[in-house]
C-alpha cells in the first residue's frame, strides 16, 4: 500500500487519506464564463508523471495538504509548501 507523506503525521498508509484533486486554480466565479468555469470544474491535466495534488488526512490530523505524486509509479514526494 502506497505511503503518503503527511506534513503533520509523517508517512502513513494511503487508506487513511481521501484524494481531493489535482491542483487547479479557481477562477473568479463572478468573472468566469460558463466555458471557463466548467473547464475549472471538469478539466484536469491527467498527466502521466509528477503531479501536484491535494489530499485530506481523514483518519489522522484532519488537515488538507499538498503532495507531489508520480502517477505511473505512485511514488510520492513531500512539498515544502505542503501545509
Amino acid at each position: 500500500m502506497m505511503l503518503l507523506p503527511c506534513p503533520w503525521c509523517g508517512p502513513r498508509n494511503v487508506s487513511e487519506f481521501r484524494y481531493v484533486s489535482e491542483l487547479v486554480p479557481r477562477p473568479d466565479p463572478a468573472a468566469a464564463s460558463p466555458g471557463e468555469w466548467r473547464d475549472y470544474l471538469y478539466l484536469r491535466g491527467n498527466q502521466r508523471g509528477w503531479v501536484t495534488e491535494r489530499w485530506y488526512h481523514r483518519a489522522g490530523c484532519g488537515q488538507y495538504f499538498l503532495v507531489d505524486r508520480e502517477t505511473a509509479t505512485d511514488q510520492t514526494r513531500p512539498r515544502q509548501d505542503a501545509r
Partner: protein, 218 residues
C-alpha cells in the same frame, strides 16, 4: 423522575454507579485487560498550532503529559488538544483551560469544548496490549516509534481513533512488574460499543478480560 444517571455507549457488565455514571463493577487481574473509561472528563481545545495558547499548554502534537492538577493533556492534532480529567470534573477542567486561554492567549481565538458526552474512552492494558492493537491498527507500535507519552490519531478497526501510550505503574497495574504497557483509545461516542467489541475479539487469543471502571480512572 428517575435518578439522573449518565450512561456510556459501552453496555457495562455487572453495573454499579460511580460519580453519577453507570459503570462496570468488574475487577479483573488478567494479564491483558480492557476497561471503559468513558466517564472521564474530556475537554477539547482548539487554538493556533504555534500560538500563545499552544505554548501555554506546552504539549506538542503527538505527545501527552499530565499537568500539575493531574489532568492528562494530549496533543491530538495540529492546534488541537484533548484534556482528560477525573469523572464528573468536566466543568472544573473546562474552567481551568478557559482560564489559561484568558490569561495566556487573550486575543487569540481559542475554543474550549466539553466533549465528555461526545466521545468514548477505552484503556487497553497488559504486556500483550501492543500485539492486540497490532491486529486492528496499522501503526508501528515499537517502543522506538510509540514510546510512553506518545500519541497519534489513526485508523483503528476502520474507525478514526486517538491512541495514547500511557503506561501504568505497577501500583495500579493489573499484574505485571513495574510499568504495565497501556494504551488509551478515544473515539466518536456512537462507535464505542463497536470498538470495545473489536478489541475484545482481537485480544481473545491473549486471554483478554474486561476490567471495570476504577475512580478516578486517570
Amino acid at each position: 423522575m428517575a435518578e439522573l444517571l449518565a450512561r456510556s455507549p459501552v453496555t457495562p457488565a455487572s453495573p454499579v454507579v460511580a460519580d453519577g455514571w453507570e459503570v462496570s463493577g468488574l475487577r479483573s487481574s488478567a494479564s491483558l485487560t480492557l476497561a471503559d473509561l468513558t466517564p472521564l472528563a474530556k475537554v477539547a481545545v482548539r487554538a493556533r498550532p504555534a500560538g500563545a495558547m499552544a505554548s501555554a499548554l506546552g504539549v506538542p502534537f503527538g505527545r501527552a503529559a499530565r499537568d500539575a492538577a493531574g489532568a492528562l493533556l494530549i496533543g491530538s492534532g495540529p492546534g488541537e488538544w484533548l484534556a482528560l480529567g477525573p469523572a464528573g470534573q468536566e466543568a472544573a477542567l473546562r474552567g481551568r483551560l478557559e482560564q489559561t486561554a484568558a490569561s495566556a492567549a487573550a486575543g487569540e481565538l481559542v475554543t474550549v469544548l466539553d466533549l465528555t458526552h461526545g466521545r468514548a474512552l477505552l484503556r487497553l492494558t497488559g504486556a500483550q496490549a501492543a500485539a492486540t492493537l497490532a491486529k486492528v491498527c496499522g501503526i508501528d507500535l515499537a517502543d522506538s516509534r510509540v514510546p510512553p507519552g506518545a500519541a497519534f490519531r489513526s485508523s483503528v478497526a476502520k474507525l478514526v481513533a486517538d491512541v495514547v501510550r500511557d503506561d501504568l505503574t505497577s501500583s495500579d497495574a493489573t499484574g505485571g512488574e513495574g510499568q504495565a504497557r497501556s494504551y488509551l483509545l478515544h473515539c466518536e461516542r456512537s462507535y464505542g460499543q463497536y470498538l470495545f467489541d473489536a478489541l475484545l475479539d482481537a485480544g481473545a487469543e491473549f486471554g483478554i478480560a474486561v476490567d471495570g471502571f476504577r475512580a478516578p480512572g486517570i
